[in-house]
Symmetry: D2
Subunit: 395 residues, 4 copies
């Protein structure tokens, strides 16, 4: 089928952030173009204008579209007939809001890294701006892009697991065991700095992913939350470990545990879900297996593309035969792919669903900020149960 | 070396419980004799005298030592020159106290199933009786008998993991997903009946094991506890799911999650421990591997008997070369083995350590009952943090 | 049920070998009594009379039944009314024949370690003696005792896998990487000494197990064999590595690879079997899982006792609920258990099946010796395909 | 660093094959551009001119560079100032030679799928043409691109494993269990058709990969080979199962087993290597782990990017922190990346190594064809040992 039919051309991507030394900007650049559905053609790659321009060659971005600032970029791209179709925001948390707002208000679609904003107030304001604008707005809770995560979501929403009683989400890392931030490690520095990361450290960076994964798979609506955050690396300013308990509206109990201080652990995002009819588990470090269990039956391992027992979602998110592993970039690209579908539809004048989307969206971004806000507040109140419900949450 | 040197004979074992249809009694019988250090020679195998006597042939127990009641057994054995050296109590929870008390007061060593008693008050009273008597008293927190659990304990107590910051213990089962108790399944019936099981269901049966495992491995002293129990099988009288949070005196945070309602899960007791210098994990369903991790080093898999990198404890608890798996019975037998060592010493007139033992003892039994008591109380108070410290806990 | 009904008593076990420093003798002693169906009451524990008698106390064998030689034991036991019901032969390979012959001819049941004899001629002679005597004779290809090995066998014989096309058996160890035999390590010394071990080293010790496992599971009749043996530890007298190819009568192709020189490998006996309808795999280091696969279906993990999807054999060979692992000793005890069933039947005057038995028997022992003979011969002829069929093989 | 410094621009890629319904062409297109180092700008996407042109829109290839044939493409591209820097040949085996020859002789760099040609004679001729031309010529033995495969190679060539004694390579699939070729499944049809696939089926398609993987990791030079091929799907024209034994010049023994008929197996390429100092294993279905073992030490799991214990090769082939899995496309892209390095060097006038390259090259392609030739010949001669050495093999 022609690329991005009926648009029949690659989408034009702009990148914000991603300058020399960056990590997540390079991921966006790779994931965005992985399926030949987009080309990276412009960027404001750093908040430092000189560095921004110097970094353009790394991505083969032409010099005239290598901008020194977001402001400059919006102005210049706005005037081009071949302006970018969307921008990817891959900068530290505290800058997301202003950048996203600027592009959204100028009518550009946006793919924003998570957590969506610096605080909840910004998130709620951004939501209003996005709703008003009608642009496609995705938040890269990238783990939702794994084929078997989507398979799990499809099964649960279909009722294959029955009523959901319990979720156990964990995201366990070890790289911040020591105070790397004191050694000027760039990735560590901004993540542990409250003026850049916001009120949460570990729970903002990865706890949100763990929470979002369960929410995405199950569709359960949260009701109350109790948080217990810890700082184990002496002298650190933000949490580096913790557990939250979530009570869902249907009576289910969720636990969300996140760690940055577990020696040798890499990116061990792991979830188990118990339903009345079946249970399942999935692990991002081994993402091409989904284990499904029912009492009295053999344990079953579903593979990404393993056959007709799978629903439509898993196959649609796969590019290769099962056994040829697909991984992080492909999942990230699947979030892009779902957003591309919406952009192409919108560009073709079709109506586009904005709330109940396959990709995580601005509503999920708001819920993520509420999660952070209430976990931190509860933890300060000795784990008191606080309300955890946002009127704008997707049902 | 001669059997039980310097005693130079097998120990004589009596079994309480284990009659037709029983599960754990058969386990005690098998584990007790596994190493040819004991012989099962007497028993009161059921609270029903006729059934007790009828069951004796199943164990090849001679008719004259197949007793119709505990009372009868104590009286008769007490008079024999070849009286049993110890009894194993493998009956439902609510009967442990009376049985154990009777044998302890008569001077018999006791190996008691867990939870040790019906409630905390009984546990504290039993502790006094045991202290007064001087008998060897073990509680079968059997998972402590796995060689690699002992290896983990040895490493942590040696400081190989540094200061312990976090423990995550889980015991996940699925067999009580539906109300088997309503179908007269014997194992389910007493476990879900408050008059037999006590105030906790899942947390009494397996949550205690999960807590005990972390406590045994780390030696951390608990300070406060917050519990969140659920009943997911409609109509059930006791918890079948829950999570507890434990604050340890050194500032560490522990989580204990137990489930009986997770479809297809068998006996998945799983623990992860994070220290400042290293982290480890162990899983009972794959008990011959202990995974040890340090940042910047390969993940390491220690095997039960794998070589000189192990401490003394693991090898001492193994019977076979690594790669030939040892499992549940062997671990259970290791708890017996450590208690046998004490019994032989005592019988030989040596002084015997009673608090800081390799086998779980009456002090651990008391702490287990306190755990149950406070988890249930906290859960009723919406998860309030309650004190969790017993003056008799081992240090 | 009463022990060994209708015999209603424990069987009396005699142990040959197992003296101080032994490995496999202790295994037989433990496995033999594991289920309380037998008691170890007599033995000739070493070929050195003094050591034999000195070792008796290690097993709590009474002094008057601790014999200095096999000859002495046969004579003395033969006269006792409570004579042993069977003897277990746990001595080096070159002594099996004489010992087994002696006991069989005296009418005792025998459980013999493998390989059954020193060479094929002895095996064939022993078979005749056993056939003539009518005793129960088992060979401890102990891996056949694992519940899920029996499940695999049951499934294949039932046709669940369709026609079998291919088997891949591997037994990979590393402990003989260096010439331990040059360091007087006892276990290494006899295994690498042609005068004790026979014509094969690695292939006699573990290659036979790997071959037998596939044979036991599939029931396929072998036709031709091609062998390729290597000695990698310089100066060693017998093979320590190799691969054999087996052509079965039905056209299937089998591979059998065994190694004693693979660093860090423990007892990795691993088998894969491909049928026209399904495929399966099993690994002894993780024996409580059997993986079954069919195109277009999820991979399935069968657990030892996991539910009604299992056949009768697995459950009958299990003692514990699934998830509580059972392992090497329990499997070994299952071979004993099947032989005990036959002994009890025979003692009760019932007719006993001797060829198509659940336990490996003298016919399998002969086939094992033929396997060794032909692999070694083929290897000397540069891997030429040689006949591999014995008229006495079980069908 | 600027893209492809000092060339400072993306390379221009042409694709041969990959038209509608193709599999491997899409893989080349994705892998080729994954790192933003190349752009797909031209192609002859099918041997059917109409289909070739119709498929161009799927890749956003402009109509004027969508060629109806290879001949047309060479002619047209040859005249353009912005002509393609390289072409990727992703067509059935029997067409590789003519296509590759045409482009090489016209001075274009080529990346060719495997097996390199239809038969050995073609391979040897192509080698001469490539040598004469001086172009960069890579063969996509894509599994060599996995970071931990390169780590294994680096370790072995450094001597960390000591002398290599044994390799065991397996590539196990199940998708051709039934005769899909009879159902007009396109992927199955050409692979099982001797006029398109060549003399081998399974061994040409995946056996070559399994052999190449061991060869790449160890650098061992082969000396003799014995092959045993089978056809298990009735009526199939080419082998779908088999085992080959390889004797290496240093005395090592290799086994290569490949299957297309193992139910439920996906792309299970698995290798174990035994050295005198250490052993290792790697599995493509779980490619981010390399297990390294030494007697007396814990088993060690190396992860892709896990730390300073790794050599330079693994890190250089990784894009993400460890724990974020990278997989098939990234490995494939790593083969491209190494070839790109050579193309950039060459375009910049530097001398380029053509034999001892990081990417598999035309010499490896020739050795692969010799492997196929001799396995098939040996199999026809009942597994006779045949010479397996090519004078052009890389040392």
């Amino acid at each position: 089928m022609p690329t991005n039919s009926p648009l029949n051309r690659k989408l034009r991507m702009g990148l914000i952030g991603g300058g020399q030394g960056a990590f997540i900007g390079r991921v966006h650049a790779t994931a965005g173009v992985l399926d030949n559905r987009a080309a990276l053609v412009a960027g404001a790659l750093s908040s430092d204008a000189a560095k921004a321009k110097a970094s353009a060659a790394d991505y083969d971005i032409p010099a005239d579209r290598a901008y020194g600032s977001v402001k400059e970029m919006v102005a210049a791209e706005g005037k081009r007939p071949d302006k970018v179709d969307f921008v990817s925001v891959a900068t530290p948390n505290h800058t997301h809001f202003e950048i996203a707002k600027t592009f959204v208000e100028a009518g550009f679609n946006v793919i924003c890294d998570k957590p969506m904003t610096f605080d909840l107030a910004q998130a709620e304001e951004l939501l209003k701006i996005v709703e008003k604008s009608g642009v496609v707005f995705a938040v890269t809770h990238n783990y939702t892009g794994y084929p078997l995560v989507r398979q799990a979501r499809e099964m649960i929403l279909n009722g294959d697991l029955g009523e959901i009683n319990a979720t156990r989400s964990n995201y366990i890392q070890g790289w911040l065991r020591t105070r790397l931030e004191a050694e000027s490690q760039k990735q560590a520095a901004w993540r542990t700095d409250p003026s850049k990361s916001g009120i949460a450290g570990c729970f903002g960076d990865i706890g949100t992913h763990a929470y979002n994964l369960g929410r995405y798979m199950t569709g359960l609506l949260p009701k109350e939350i109790s948080g217990h955050l810890k700082i184990f690396a002496e002298g650190r300013a933000l949490d580096d470990y913790g557990t939250a308990l979530v009570r869902y509206e249907n009576g289910a109990l969720g636990t969300v545990t996140a760690s940055q201080i577990s020696h040798g652990r890499e990116n061990d995002l792991f979830i188990e879900i118990d339903g009345t009819k079946a249970a399942l588990q999935w692990r991002q470090e081994n993402p091409n297996e989904l284990i499904v269990r029912k009492n009295g039956e053999p344990h079953k391992i579903y593979t990404r593309n393993g056959g007709p027992y799978l629903g439509a979602a898993a196959g649609a998110a796969s590019r290769l035969p099962s056994g040829h592993p697909e991984a992080f970039f492909e999942a990230f690209a699947n979030v892009y792919g779902a957003a591309f579908d919406a952009m192409v539809k919108k560009a073709s004048g079709e109506k586009v669903e904005s709330v109940n989307t396959v990709y995580p969206n601005v509503y999920d971004g708001v819920e993520g900020m509420l999660f952070i806000t209430q976990v931190v507040a509860s933890s300060k109140e000795n784990g008191a149960w606080l309300p955890f419900h946002h009127p704008k949450s997707r049902k």
